[in-house]
Structure formats: C-alpha cells, structure tokens
C-alpha cells in the first residue's frame, strides 16, 4: 500500500516537473508578451526533434543537446516576436484585439511549424534509448532517465525563477508585465523585452521537449497535447504567474498520476474537469491576484 502511494506520488512528480517547465514558458509569454501561444507545443516538438536528430545522427548526449537546443529555439522565438507579434501589437487598436489576433497568429504558427517539421523529419514516430536502466526508490521502480529529467526540470525552473527575481533584466521583464507603457518611460526597451520574453518562453518549451524526448517517443503532431496541458496548468496557477505555473505543473502531474492509477483512460478528462471547475470558481488561479 505504501509502495503504491509512493509509486503514484513519484510518477506524478516526474510528470509534474515537465509540466511545470513548459507551463512556466507559456505563462511568461502570456503574462508579459500577452501572446496566448497556441503554438507552444510546437516549440516543445522542435526541441524534441532537434535532440533526437543530434543524438541519432551525431551521437550527441541529449543532456548536452539542451545547451544546443535552447539557444536555437530561443532565437526562433525571439525573431518571431520581433517580426510577427511586434507588428501585430503596433497595428492592433487595443490590448483585447491584440490578444485575439496574436492567438490566431500563434495558431497559424502551429500549422506552419508542424508541417515544416513533417517536411524535415517525416510524420512518423521517433524514439531513442538513453539512460533507460531501472532505479529503485523505496520499492517503486523508475527508469533513470525520468529521474534525470525531473532533476533538470526543477533546476531549470529554479534558475529561471531566480533570473526573473534577482537580475536587472528580470526586473525589466517584471516591470513590462505590470505596466508596459510606464516601463517604457523608465528606459526599458519594451519591444526588445517582450521579444525576449517570447523567446525565453520558447526556450523553456524547447528544453521541455528535449527532456521529453529522453523518456517517450515523439512525433510531429505531439505538440497540441502539451499546449493543452500547459494551458490548463497556467490557468490553475493563474495566468501570468510564473510561480503559480511551477506549482500548478506539479499539482496537475499528481492529479494525472492519481487518476491514471484509478482509471487510466480518464486522465485527460480529469484535467479538463479540474480546469473547467477552476475557471468557473476562480478564474484568476491559485496564485492569481
């Protein structure tokens, strides 16, 4: 019984780490750049496929790939914001219009990125084996790659949080989130900060994707599922709250693992029910204002 509880709890934490990581990225993109990035999962997919390519073609260790994948995807995200979303922001008459338009633009990106990936890698399922030996934790057995993934997810999340809370750039980002106009008056280059946030959000997604590819098989259409999970987590944590997303990721991971233990087919249904109930009861999330 205790082993079962431990089993379920650890499985939940392991998945929760990934959820937390990808949701923090989405939260930053919405909270600061005001882009509800429906294409978030596509950046995850890109990260996963770049890692897979580096591993299976050049034999590069997936953990080393994190350092290659991250910057590539950051640049893609940064440039996308500088070109597409900045233009939309300038041409939109109000914030509400921009939120609508940028969501639709992100939706277009979903099509574009996914199909470009199919062109490059084909539509099939890919996987590789890395650190797949079993590890025993108090009777519960897990693959080593899952534990490594959790460690990296937490480490990246914490570094990211410290970056936002402690550095000068982090302060500029938080200022831009609160009041872009005043932040601009205080000398913050607002377009660059927003693009930076979007790029960082994409980076988190890419790193998440890299980690995911170590544990499970990947395919070009995998993105939407993670987008949806990240959306749910972000709503649970409060739209725009980075810490809320971090905690929310673990909550959703645990809920998923408990429900899967009771009735495997219903994990997604449980996520949605939780999400819908929360939207109705407290749309600002657990840590929202």
């Amino acid at each position: 019984m205790i082993v079962t509880i431990l089993d379920v709890a650890i499985a939940g934490l392991l998945m929760g780490g990934i959820y937390a990581l990808i949701s923090m990225g989405l939260s930053l993109q919405y909270g600061v750049a005001r882009v509800l990035n429906i294409a978030h999962g596509e950046f995850i997919m890109l990260g996963a496929f770049i890692t897979w390519s580096l591993f299976s073609i050049f034999g590069i260790n997936p953990l080393v790939s994190l350092a290659i994948c991250g910057p590539i995807i950051f640049i893609i995200g940064f440039l996308l914001h500088r070109t597409l979303f900045t233009r939309l922001r300038i041409s939109s008459p109000s914030l509400a219009v921009f939120e609508g338009n940028s969501m639709l633009a992100a939706f277009a990106l979903l099509f574009i990125i996914q199909n470009v990936a199919i062109l490059i890698w084909g539509a099939g399922i890919k996987s590789y084996t890395y650190l797949a030996f079993p590890v025993n934790i108090g009777g519960a057995v897990f693959a080593a790659n899952r534990l490594v993934t959790l460690g990296f997810a937490i480490a990246i999340g914490v570094i990211f949080y410290i970056f936002l809370a402690r550095t000068r750039l982090g302060k500029a980002i938080r200022a831009a989130a609160q009041d872009p106009v005043t932040a601009g008056l205080m000398g913050v280059n607002i377009n660059r900060v927003l693009a930076l946030c979007f790029g960082l959000g994409a980076l988190m997604a890419g790193l998440g994707g890299s980690l995911i590819s170590m544990m499970i098989s990947i395919q070009p259409t995998m993105g939407l599922e993670y987008t949806v999970i990240a959306l749910i987590v972000v709503v649970i944590g409060g739209l725009g709250s980075i810490l809320g997303s971090f905690i929310g990721g673990f909550i959703l991971g645990l809920v998923g693992s408990i429900v899967t233990y009771i009735e495997p087919g219903l994990a997604m249904v449980a996520y949605y029910l939780l999400f819908m109930l929360l939207l109705l009861a407290k749309p600002t999330g657990i840590l929202g204002k």
């Binding site: 609508g100 277009a108 099509f111 819908m276």
Partner: protein, 321 residues
C-alpha cells in the same frame, strides 16, 4: 423611364441572390457528381463559419467550441439516425447542440476575453476524451459505421440549412438584437446600462449559432461512412471557422461566406495538386501562411479589401452593401 433607377442596387441585389439560389438548387441536374460533393463541403464550411460569426463577430468573444457543437450533431445523428427519419435526426442534432450551448453559455459567458476562448477549447477536448473513454470502457467499441445517404440528398439538406442560416443571420444583424450584440462587443458594461439583458442575449445567440453547427454535423455524418470521437470532435474544426471568418472579414454578412468558400476550394485544389507529389497534408502549411498574411496585411479581411478597392475606383461614392 429612368433606367438607372430600375436597375439600382436595391432591386439588383435580391434578384442576384435569388438567381444564385436557383442556380445552386438546380445544379445537381446538369452538373456531375463531383460538383455535388465539392459544393456540399463548401456549404458545410460556410455554414460553420457563418454560424460562428453570428455570435463571435459582433460580440468579439472568440469561441473555439465549434467542433464540440458539430461533433454533438454528428453523434446525435449517428445514434438516432437509424431509428428516426432524417429531418428529425437533423433537428435533434441541432437541438442537442443548442441545449449544450445554453448550458455552456450560462456557465461561461461571464468569463471575458481569452478565458472564454480557453474554456471553449477545453470543451472540445473534454467531449473528445470523454467519448473516447465511454466507447472503450462502456460500449466496448470505438467508432461506428454510419448508414450513408445519396450525395444529392446531403447537398439539398445542407443547402437548405445554409439558406435558413443566412436568413437567420440577416435578421439578427438587421434587428435590434444585432445592434445590441454589437454594443456588447464595443462596451459590455455600457450595453448593460442601456437596459440590454446582456447575459440572456449572449446565451441565446450562442445557442442559435450552435444549433446550425449541430444540424450541419448531423447531416454531414451521413456522408462519412465511419465515425469515431477523433473524427467527430476534431479540434481543427474549431479553428477553421475562425480562420475563414477572419480571412473573409466580419464587417459584412458575405465576408465569412467568401472566406469559407475561398479556403475550402483552396484546400480542395491544394490537396489534389500536392497529393500528386505525396504532400497532400501540406496544405495546412499554406493555410498557416495565408492566415499570417491576412492578419498582417488584411485587418478587415477580404471584405475590407473589396471596400477599399471600391472606394478607390468608384471615387467618393458611399459604399453600402
């Protein structure tokens, strides 16, 4: 006799519409089977897009629940289709979506902006995964085979739904309700203060738009021989109406119609052309690029473009359609 007055716009437009309708209604007689199938697809997307625009156009609430209503219509028709005659099955399909929309609307329409979009998107996925779970664990089967109908019958039914929808959309637009919806979109609080029952109005309009999507789902189910939850609740069908309406432009009633027609024909053309090279699915890539271009360069869609061109070539004449 004043000739210009005789062929003035007021009499020309209804005449033209009537002529189009006559052509569409008699088309199956003198065209091949391919036209009927293609026209049914075009009409289906037009119905979905115009229904979406009835609610989301004036109010600005981006609903991503279209696939949910469409799918409910499909399932209603699949489950009831064998027991009930076709018109009743279609009506029940529409009614089921109508009721679902009433419930969802009552729960969610106080959510503003982006929350509403996320919630409605969640609804599609909830129904998808729940139906999937239900079919696997309760009924023990995934997917059902649907008794098919003659393509011409499907065409006439979807044409009828289209005509009814356009009449409904026209009357809502030109009634005080349309004006009230518009004012909700511009400033919801101000609208409430002028005495509009905004909640009731939003919910009912949402449900009316869902009715047509459900009815469309009920008839289209008979064209696909096989239905499973992933086909019925395809999230793509939530996004397509939005894409088509934005591209066509929501400023005028004909905007979503041309937007939907354009994209369906583009899809048909691209899938058949690209399929020769084994790239059939790549049309989505081109859709994405077109949508980005539309968002950046055509803020009011094709309608805005047409009006700009008319203004340029017809000089300062007042443009009204």
């Amino acid at each position: 006799m004043d000739v210009t007055k005789f062929i003035s716009k007021r009499s020309l437009l209804p005449g033209l519409l009537f002529l189009t309708l006559v052509v569409l209604a008699t088309a199956p007689i003198y065209t091949g089977g391919y036209f009927v199938i293609l026209a049914s697809s075009v009409l289906l997307y037009i119905v979905l897009t115009v229904s979406w625009t009835i609610f989301s156009g004036p109010t600005g609430y981006i609903s991503l629940a279209s696939a949910a209503f469409f799918g409910v219509g499909i399932y209603a028709s699949v489950i009831l289709g064998e027991a009930l005659p076709l018109p009743i099955a279609i009506f029940v399909g529409g009614l089921a979506s109508f009721i679902l929309a009433l419930l969802v609307g009552a729960l969610t329409l106080r959510l503003r902006g982006i929350y509403f979009a996320i919630f409605t998107f969640g609804l599609v996925e909830l129904l998808l995964y729940f139906t999937l779970w239900w079919e696997v664990n309760i009924t023990g089967t995934t997917g059902r085979v649907v008794p098919t109908l003659d393509n011409t019958i499907v065409y006439y039914v979807i044409l009828l739904i289209f005509v009814l929808l356009m009449l409904t959309a026209y009357f809502i637009r030109h009634s005080k309700y349309g004006l009230a919806l518009q004012s909700i979109g511009e400033n919801e609080e101000a609208a409430a203060h002028t005495g509009i029952n905004i909640t009731a109005l939003k919910i009912v309009t949402f449900a009316i738009s869902a009715f047509f999507m459900g009815a469309a789902g009920a008839i289209m189910a008979t064209r696909w021989t096989y239905i499973d939850p992933k086909i019925a609740f395809n999230p793509l069908l939530s996004f397509m109406p939005v894409l088509m309406a934005i591209f066509g432009g929501m400023g005028q009633l004909y905007g979503p119609v041309i937007g939907a027609a354009f994209f369906t024909l583009l899809k048909e053309y691209l899938t058949t052309t690209l399929a020769k090279y084994g790239l059939g699915e790549l049309y989505m890539l081109i859709f994405g690029l077109v949508l980005v271009a539309a968002l950046l360069y055509l803020p009011d869609g094709l309608v805005g473009l047409i009006q700009r061109l008319r203004r340029r070539y017809l000089g300062g004449q007042r443009v009204s359609t």
